[in-house]
């Protein structure tokens, strides 16, 4: 048992820190710190900076142009990026589709799509959920019918994150309606510019537009856009979901969030004293911090095993549940700290307008983030689904 990072790992951390200090634009870091939206240009800019450094694809094998970092290195990288308030790397192409193509895609697909993901030429979005298929994803109904050298796709996807920026979508579609649910599904790559595709925005409860509905009406997709074999899509989807669950614990986000809460609690006065001195508020913060300290070590335990080549089991479900609970609790603390200044809907401040914040620094985003991050326990397999997985493994029986 040794809780310390190795000398090599510490050197790696220093290298990451130096890169961030030199290459992360200050205004970008500031925008992330106060919770402003970055927009497509901002994401593209950070994508290009990481690509120039060769650090865009930590999880890809070197043969495809990735870093091939192990789990500990990836963790250090993510932790330092969060600490420096670097933008989140949009995961759909890089860490969701790419592993599937690398394992199940054809040589032609790998040669064509992977470089375009790195260069930023393609922005991918995910066509999984449907209005009737959420937690029960395998009940999806979007239909693809083979006609000569193409499929004709009809149906609707939803919760398509940042689909408004995407030029490609990877989709789960039903190719065999007679087969048992999971066995009639295929994995298709679809050009968003194909006639018959319509993207409709969904406004979320905090006023943001980050998800969309994507409608397909007689959309023609060439057969060479099928990944792997027809009707084997569920296998690929499950493989993809295991990658969606990396960094599921969100330790870095929680640390940054807790620091922000502390900053605000120092500046806000309560009964003539800084809020951070208030025993009730301080106790809430302490509980969150205590939970985070333990969860962060659970995270490292799993990462360390993964680096040694052991696949994570139910522990990743446990991390998802606990990690999202802690992040949501920290969002709750932040809105409490802002007091009445949590009430304004400060869209201008969040969208990068020139108006100064209405309340104390960082207060404009707190309530919006509190509501927006209710999604953490819903998406990527809801926390209920994660508990089903844990229970099924530990207790046996049905989910």
């Amino acid at each position: 048992m040794d809780l310390n990072y190795s000398v090599e790992e510490q050197a790696f951390r220093a290298e990451v820190q130096q890169f961030l200090a030199e290459k992360l634009p200050a205004e970008m870091s500031e925008a992330i710190r106060v919770g402003r939206e970055l927009g497509k240009d901002g994401h593209d800019q950070w994508h290009a900076i990481l690509n120039a450094q060769g650090w865009l694809a930590p999880n890809w094998p070197k043969e495809f142009g990735g870093c091939e970092w192990n789990a500990v290195q990836r963790h250090i990288f993510e932790e330092e990026c969060c600490r420096a308030h670097a933008p989140r790397i949009v995961p759909f192409g890089l860490s969701m589709l790419a592993p599937v193509l690398q394992k199940f895609g054809s040589k032609e697909q790998q040669d064509h799509y992977l470089p375009r993901i790195l260069s930023g030429q393609d922005w991918w979005c995910q066509g999984y959920s449907e209005p009737g298929a959420g937690s029960d994803l395998a009940s999806l109904k979007t239909r693809a019918v083979r006609e000569a050298d193409h499929y004709v796709v009809n149906g609707q996807k939803t919760w398509t994150t940042l689909g408004q920026y995407a030029n490609w979508i990877f989709c789960l579609v039903r190719t065999d309606p007679e087969a048992k649910q999971q066995s009639g599904i295929s994995f298709l790559l679809i050009d968003m510019a194909t006639p018959g595709i319509e993207v409709r925005p969904i406004t979320l409860l905090d006023g943001t537009h980050e998800v969309n509905e994507v409608w397909f009406t007689d959309v023609k997709v060439p057969v060479e856009n099928l990944v792997g074999e027809e009707n084997m899509g569920w296998t690929y989807a499950k493989y993809l979901l295991t990658h969606e669950r990396t960094n599921i614990a969100g330790v870095g986000f929680s640390r940054a969030g807790l620091d922000a809460v502390k900053r605000m609690a120092r500046s806000q006065m309560h009964r003539g004293r800084p809020l951070i001195d208030n025993p009730h508020f301080a106790a809430r913060m302490a509980r969150a911090e205590i939970d985070l300290m333990a969860m962060s070590t659970t995270n490292l335990r799993i990462i360390s095993r993964a680096a040694a080549g052991q696949a994570p089991g139910v522990e990743s479900s446990m991390l998802k549940v606990k990690g999202t609970e802690i992040r949501q609790e920290i969002n709750d603390l932040a809105r409490r700290a802002a007091g009445a200044y949590a009430m304004p809907f400060a869209s201008e401040a969040l969208e990068g307008g020139n108006e100064p914040e209405i309340g104390p620094e960082g207060s404009a985003a707190v309530a919006a983030q509190y509501f927006n991050n209710r999604k953490l326990s819903i998406f990527g397999g809801s926390n209920e689904i994660q508990k089903n997985i844990i229970a099924k493994v530990k207790l046996g029986g049905g989910a």
Binding site: L204, L205, M269
Partner: protein, 380 residues
Amino acid sequence: MNFDLTDERQMLQDSLRRFLRDNQEALRASTRLGEAATETGFSTEIWGKLAELGVIGALFSEEDGGFGGAGFDLTTVFEELGRVGAVEPFVDTAILGGGLIAALGNSDQRELVEQVIAGSLQLALAHGEQNSRYDLAQVETTATAEGDEIVLNGRKAVVVNAEAADHFLVSAREAGATGDEEGISLFLVPRDAAGLSLRGYPLLAGGRAAEVDLDGLRLPSSARLGAAGAAYPALKRAITRAEVALAAETLGAMEAATDLTREYLLTRQQFGRPIGSFQALQHRMATLLIELEQARSAVINAAGHLDADPAQQALQIAAARNLIGRAGRLVAEECIQLHGGIAMTEEYALAHIAKRIVMADHRFGDTDTQLERFLDYSAA
């Protein structure tokens, strides 16, 4: 012992519920975040009709020109408003503004209360400040006498209904130190007064507010409400009434949230059956319904003690708001979670209702502040 509404209050509840149901569309329009960009943040047409219906009059006693004004009148009205997530400024114009003028005003000033009850006047209480958080006595804004005039200087924070208001009730210190209860006065300030400027913005849970700057604002001393430096007890009383109203409004919103969720659990199909047939979700729904009844009783405790002796009143109201703060957060978060993504969309009614529930905790004292008050009053 009798927990039924009186006939009059039952009639009020019935007619208000019917009106709100029939006007769902117009009420809902004001709750959309984009719509909050309109000048007032609410529908003045609905406001007028609700005044006609007697809803504002129900919040004032007979001696103030109304026909109610007791704790259970407030809770009857606000529970209904909460059920539909109404953003109309009943707390600000009627309970706080109208209530304070009725309590402190001279006969000339009190004529404004009639206009409030008639629905023709809007008010805003400009009391909270950047450093006051939820402490009512933390007033740094100053009022200085110059001959027959009063000069106001300071900044008021998150003044709800500011842009719609015809008059502001501005608190300012005429004597004592920041934090003293003594020395705080209230002034009636017309919205077009020189030296008054607003920076308005929409609120996340609907309605609008503003930062209000008072820069050498001059008033005749006749603009003072009540005696110099003696406004604190009336302020506390008005805000206590507002807290009861807000607790009832939140209870109504919690009812709406649990109704929507129960309905969704019964109809949403996943894995070939309604998700409400899963025991894991059934138990969570049951917990919410238990907390809802706790909240209902807490509101009854608060309303029933609104005119009790001050120690009992304060204790009961702090207890009710602490409980509602805890139960409300649970209901809002769990109802969203039990729905899944659909409840995250602005389009779906629960989204606005959940925001009303959670953001109510940011007015007049949050859950922790109520706990502190409860401890203070228990020790006293």
